[in-house]
């Protein structure tokens, strides 16, 4: 955990992407002290200290694959950064977490994919609402960004394209 230099940030409206420095520190557990600015706390810790942290816009949350977006609920609206960990890219639970945060709990801040993230997972992530990608350190980040462009059209709805093709096809 800790910082990664390889953060691709996607502007969801324009589709522009840039490679930026990461200012946030993802921690496995927090001490009892005050939480420093730009910390990403595990969901369980955040929930335990919710009352203390709810007004802080410089504290974020990260999800493990079996964490439940339901337990954060509409509090998601108050956060500015949420990360979802993909311990292995073949564990697709984080895709559902992304969609639920965006589509059900109205989360509008930065949604970051961390963990086993590389070129071939980028587009699915984007479609599930992710707009920041912490590409694995041993992968070419410029190349990874190109994965966002593998397809132009999608059959189903997604966070990036809320209308399924069949609603656009007839138009």
């Amino acid at each position: 955990m800790g910082k990664s230099p390889h953060l691709i940030r996607l502007d969801r409206a324009s589709g522009r992407r840039e490679i930026v420095a990461n200012h946030w520190l993802r921690v496995a557990e927090a001490s009892d002290d005050a939480v420093p600015p730009h910390t990403l706390l595990p969901l369980s810790e955040w929930l335990a200290r919710r009352d203390e942290l709810l007004e802080r816009t410089d504290v974020g949350v990260w999800f493990k694959p079996d964490d439940e977006p339901e337990s954060l609920g509409d509090d998601a609206r108050r956060l500015s950064v949420i990360a979802v960990d993909f311990p292995a890219f073949t564990d697709g639970r984080g895709f559902s977490i992304g969609r639920l945060l965006r589509e059900r709990y109205g989360y509008a801040g930065e949604l970051r994919a961390v963990g086993d993230v590389f070129k071939d997972t980028m587009l699915y992530l984007r479609r599930c609402g992710f707009d920041a990608f912490e590409v694995r350190i041993d992968k070419d980040v410029e190349d990874a960004a190109k994965g966002l462009d593998d397809f132009d059209e999608f059959y189903q709805n997604g966070v990036d394209q809320p209308l399924p093709l069949f609603r656009r096809r007839s138009a």
């Binding site: 969609r99 992530l125 070419d140």
Partner: protein, 555 residues
């Protein structure tokens, strides 16, 4: 048949480019074996015993003659001149080179074909009734719904990496010919009392290590909600399906652990958020897709063809073929013909490239240029005029496709087994052949009536052995190949799993064992009673007694 528009074509074309890049990066060492594996599997590419194996999607088993010719060309150019039709209504190549796969995909894309999601832990090719649209007992044509599901499932971003593979089958007729009860999701297209179309939804069936028959979680789902409801099912499965143990990762395990009622409630709760959302199907889209599946330009024929009836009366060989391989059509004067890929001595489901080309020719001449694949691994000409049946029969005979054995004991479903598959415990193909050789007397086969023999080379159950009337499973005993036999399984409505009769047998004994099972059946049969009915009536004990007594007698 569904015809791609520019959108569909672009998606498939871009897939070719994407997979070419993935293959290049793997060969260049930029993708590790572990990274490439799930990516290639989602493109139907296995690494098998001898070579890679490529599984090409045949959505719900429908093919056009131009597609068949391209499949034949691929077999000729990139493989060893043959291909294998599977129980998922797909086609497999056993000997392609990895380096060639992107080019193969590019050729497939020229005829609106692909290998998307034919393997891997994602939603697989949706399967259906091989007689969809033509069956005399059809209530509602399932094909538009299959196509809508195909599109919904193609590169679904949320369900690209499920706990395990996911298989959907759709049926719209009185008889279930799509094994819907043993799929992750089985769908019956139905209409309610008000005449509205909808779906009965079954979940949690499946074969493999822990075989199960599915449970109905919804009796009637109005048609426009099909895809949003699927999203709900898959989301529940994606989130809560087990990932710690691949043998417990299928949705059937989750449904069983939760109970079907609790699972259904969870799906309904999820669906409450999704229903009436953007994935709600529009009438325009349903009509757009359904318009691809309207009837071809049939001739208006009054009834049965006189010449056809006469030949049936005069020529016993023809009559026998008609009885087994010709299926009753919903249109007067037409018939559906099954071309048997089960002649003795050919691995079940295999066809040479020359044969594939010939089937394309037959389809063009006699069946509006269309062919279907059945999950029993045969090919179907669905729209043949009865007056053409004699000609089709002659040509099919010349091609080796007229074995009149559909539904009989030699129409064996058989996985590739130890000859090709690296997961096998035992060979399957030689067992099928030994049984076919033992029962080479057509009259006798006919008398025995319907008997399904299904053979799998291991627990994975690719050959559906659990639902065979007679199931054969390859098992490994201290490094040598043995076979376990079960009786009484069935697909269709009232699907059930066969009961194992006892200790397993050596390869050389298998034909004898089947012979003994048939003797017990013949000795106890009342009139024309079917094999399954005799097994149901007697139970497995008399079979057991006969087989193991004999074995003991042999010491």
């Amino acid at each position: 048949m569904y015809i791609y528009d520019d959108y569909d074509q672009k998606i498939v074309d871009q897939r070719v480019v994407q997979f070419r890049d993935q293959t290049r990066r793997f060969l260049a060492g930029d993708l590790t074996e572990d990274e490439f594996r799930p990516l290639r599997l989602q493109n139907g590419l296995y690494i098998q015993r001898h070579a890679p194996m490529l599984r090409v999607a045949i959505p719900y088993g429908h093919l056009r003659s131009d597609q068949l010719r391209v499949l034949a060309g691929i077999a000729r150019k990139y493989d060893r001149d043959y291909a294998h039709f599977t129980t998922r209504q797909n086609i497999q190549y056993n000997w392609p080179r990895l380096e060639d796969v992107p080019d193969i995909l590019a050729e497939l894309a020229t005829v609106q074909m692909h290998a998307v999601q034919t393997s891997g832990n994602c939603v697989r090719n949706t399967t259906s009734d091989q007689f969809a649209g033509v069956a005399h007992d059809e209530l509602i044509d399932p094909r538009p719904w299959c196509e809508l599901i195909r599109q919904w499932s193609t590169f679904h971003p949320e369900f690209a990496h499920l706990p395990r593979k996911f298989k959907i089958a759709v049926s719209g007729s009185v008889e279930d010919r799509a094994a819907t009860w043993v799929h992750d999701i089985g769908v019956h297209v139905v209409s309610n009392e008000a005449g509205e179309t909808g779906f009965k939804v079954i979940v949690g069936g499946g074969l493999g290590r822990t075989p199960m028959v599915g449970a109905v979680i919804r009796d009637f789902l109005p048609k426009e909600h099909l895809l949003s409801y699927f999203d709900a099912i898959l989301r529940v499965y994606n989130r809560y399906g087990r990932r710690d143990n691949k043998y417990k990762a299928r949705i059937k395990i989750l449904v069983k652990a939760m109970t079907p009622a609790a699972f259904a409630a969870k799906v309904e709760a999820e669906w409450a958020h999704l229903r009436d959302g953007p994935m709600t199907l529009t009438q325009a889209e349903i009509e757009r897709v359904a318009a691809h599946f309207t009837a071809p330009s049939y001739q208006v024929l009054a009834g049965d063809d006189a010449g056809f009836l006469r030949l049936q009366a005069d020529n016993p060989a023809f009559a026998r073929w008609v009885k087994r391989n010709v299926f009753k059509h919903k249109r007067p004067g037409y018939a559906a013909v099954t071309l048997s890929l089960k002649p003795t001595g050919v691995p079940p489901g295999d066809a040479s490239s020359a044969q594939l080309d010939s089937v394309a020719d037959l389809a063009d001449r006699y069946s509006f240029g269309e062919v279907r694949v059945s999950h029993e691994q045969n090919l179907i000409l669905a729209d043949v005029r009865q007056s053409d049946l004699a000609a089709v029969w002659e040509e099919a005979r010349a091609l080796g496709f007229a074995t009149p054995n559909i539904g009989l004991l030699t129409d064996i479903i058989c996985c590739p087994g130890g000859d090709f598959c690296s997961l096998a415990n035992a060979k399957s193909i030689p067992i099928a052949e030994a049984i076919q050789r033992r029962f080479d007397d057509l009259d006798y086969l006919f008398d025995l009536g319907e008997i399904d023999i299904n053979i799998s080379g291991c627990m994975n159950a690719c050959g559906h052995h659990h639902v065979g009337h007679i199931g054969i499973l390859g098992v490994d005993k201290s490094g040598s190949e043995w076979y376990q036999v079960s009786l009484g399984g069935r697909q269709g409505h009232g699907a059930s799993l066969g009961k194992v009769i006892g200790p397993s047998f050596a390869q050389d004994d298998m034909a004898d064992v089947i012979g003994q099972i048939i003797e017990v059946f013949a000795a106890n049969r009342e009139g024309d009673e079917r094999f399954l009915d005799v097994v149901d009536r007697l139970g497995i004990d008399p079979f057991k007694a006969r087989i193991y007594q004999k074995e003991r007698a042999h010491g």
